[in-house]
């Protein structure tokens, strides 16, 4: 099968690909009542290697957010299991960071207090956390905004602060659920470049969920195409584009090929993209 072939490709290309940091084994999930069940996920097998960037593309309602919530430990799957570094995920854990679709900044905290919230909740040394947060904010171009209120930031800036907040726990996996879905197209492109840089620098493994094939192909080492009802993995497409990714990536033939291959799934489906 092509999916298996793709997996083999990735693992062959990766010297440290021995043990996945994040693994889904035959994960299935059903919502709704017993009389009216709604199958969200069906038999999903997926591995994410340490430092790997995997993007899941799919139409609305294909269960990709459910998959991410399972990885985050926010819900437990009805069937199968998700594991982090070999240990089953039963509840949220510090090594797994999450960035939601909305930045979810608490309006009663300024940027620095929002960003250092994980440290505060974990009872860690706040002055060290603040210094670390300032450094990370600087890294994402938010220098001088630590005392600002979230409401005074643009959507893109808020989302950058949310990424910094997720990085504060020094996660080894970053789960991102449509993080740029609410942003305008231009900001979104800028955020993609930013995210590519952050991921390349921090070597954190990323599982990104997106509607956008181009976004997935630009950012990921591997694009996973999901089809809805029930949510299944249709294909895993390796992205043979070297890093760092730059605006030039967008015009490379490999990029176009990946996009085309992913798009084929949605066209035969009746064009749900």
């Amino acid at each position: 099968m092509s999916a298996a072939a793709a997996l083999a490709d990735v693992h062959a290309a990766r010297p440290d690909g021995a043990r996945p940091i994040l693994r889904f084994e035959r994960v299935g999930h059903v919502f709704g009542t017993e009389s009216c069940p709604l199958r969200a996920l069906d038999c999903v097998d997926l591995d994410v290697a340490p430092g790997e960037f995997v993007a899941i593309v799919g139409a609305s309602g294909c269960g990709k957010s459910t998959l991410l919530r399972i990885a985050a430990g926010l819900i437990s799957p009805r069937e199968g299991a998700a594991s982090f570094d070999g240990a089953p995920i039963v509840e949220p854990r510090g090594e797994i960071g999450v960035v939601f679709q909305d930045a979810v900044m608490l309006p009663w905290f300024n940027v620095i207090d929002n960003v250092t919230l994980p440290a505060r909740l974990a009872g860690r040394d706040m002055s060290a956390a603040r210094a670390e947060a300032e450094r990370l904010l600087e890294n994402v171009g938010l220098t001088g905004f630590s005392q600002s209120w979230p409401s005074s930031l643009s959507g893109g800036m808020r989302q950058r602060a949310a990424i910094v907040r997720a990085l504060m726990t020094k996660p080894r996996v970053l789960l991102m659920d449509e993080p740029f879905g609410a942003l305008d197209a231009l900001t979104r492109e800028r955020m993609n470049l930013e995210l590519a840089r952050i991921a390349e620098q921090s070597r954190v493994a990323v599982l990104l969920i997106t509607h956008s094939i181009a976004e997935a192909a630009f950012l990921a080492d591997r694009v996973v195409v999901m089809t809805p009802r029930p949510g299944r993995i249709a294909e895993e497409i390796p992205v043979p584009i070297p890093r760092p990714r730059t605006p030039k990536t967008l015009s490379s033939p490999d990029f176009a090929a990946v996009c085309e291959r992913a798009r084929a799934h949605f066209l035969e489906d009746g064009g749900s993209e």
């Binding site: 979810v104 919230l117 974990a122 800036m157 800028r190």
Partner: protein, 278 residues
């Protein structure tokens, strides 16, 4: 590429106030002063013009005269102090208990479901109607007034705090779960601030009712307080004296209201309010 985003976001914060705002504010103040003088003047003029009997109503000049007379006799301070004490003590007790019960009810769902019908039933009862009972139990002193004020302020705070604490923003809850916040942390950092505007809505209502409760309780039976003074003035057919008490009550009510709103502004600093930049 980040640089491009920065000026966009700086712009609103750095926006200057319109130059004419200060002038507008002074014009507004002048207008409202003129309105006050006009109303008082019209009141005085109408009373004189129609030669209204002092047994029915008094002119502002007579009210002022009565006030000065009362002050020189040291008539007011004790009664004023008693009423203010009843309001402040009753409000503090009632509001605190209302808030605490709301927290308990929101934390223990089953208790909430059991209590809710009774709370709604008691809420729809006019609390001043139990004043005779309260006087019967606690007598004519301040205790009965404090209890009635507490009772009357308890419910609006309870009901509003309950509805505020019932807000469950799923995203914020997910965020707190992801960071493995404890129940107390979730309450402290998310649920309580989310509920704060609703709690203050309850406190604003309670603040108005507190004074009403104190005065009604004093009417029903008391030895001291502005309500007692008001009834005495009525017995003496002293309309000017009655109006002095009414003005004092209005002043107390206004002070309470302004104080609660100032505290609200301070505590819920992140809430954008209409007319925030007058």
């Amino acid at each position: 590429m980040t640089d491009a985003a920065v000026p966009l976001a700086v712009a609103p914060a750095a926006r200057r106030r319109p130059a004419s705002r200060g002038r507008v504010r002074w014009t507004n103040r002048a207008l409202s002063a003129a309105l006050f003088v006009g109303v008082i003047g019209a009141w005085e003029a109408l009373v004189r013009l129609f030669d209204v009997s002092p047994l029915m109503f008094a002119a502002p000049s007579a009210v002022l005269e009565a006030f000065m007379r009362g002050v020189s006799r040291g008539l007011y301070w004790e009664h004023l102090g008693v009423t203010v004490f009843e309001v402040v003590a009753g409000f503090s007790i009632g509001a605190s208990l209302g808030f605490l019960l709301a927290v308990a009810v929101s934390e223990f769902e089953r208790a909430g479901r059991l209590l809710f019908p009774y709370l709604v039933a008691i809420q729809s009862l006019p609390k001043v109607a139990v004043a005779p009972f309260v006087i019967l139990w606690l007598g004519f002193g301040v205790e009965s007034k404090v209890l009635l004020v507490a009772l009357i302020t308890f419910f609006p705070v309870l009901i509003n705090a309950m509805s505020g604490l019932a807000i469950q923003d799923p995203q914020r809850m997910d965020l707190m779960r992801v960071f493995r916040a404890t129940r107390w942390q979730t309450f402290r950092y998310v649920r309580l601030p989310s509920a704060a505007p609703a709690i203050f809505a309850g406190l604003n209502v309670a603040a108005v009712l507190a004074l009403t409760g104190a005065i009604v309780a004093e009417f029903v039976g008391a030895q001291r307080g502005l309500g007692v003074l008001l009834l005495q003035a009525q017995t003496n057919l002293d309309t000017a004296g009655m109006l002095v008490i009414l003005v004092m009550l209005a002043a107390i009510g206004l002070t309470i209201n302004v104080t609660v709103r100032a505290v609200e502004r301070k505590v819920t600093y992140w809430v954008a309010r209409r007319g925030d930049a007058p």
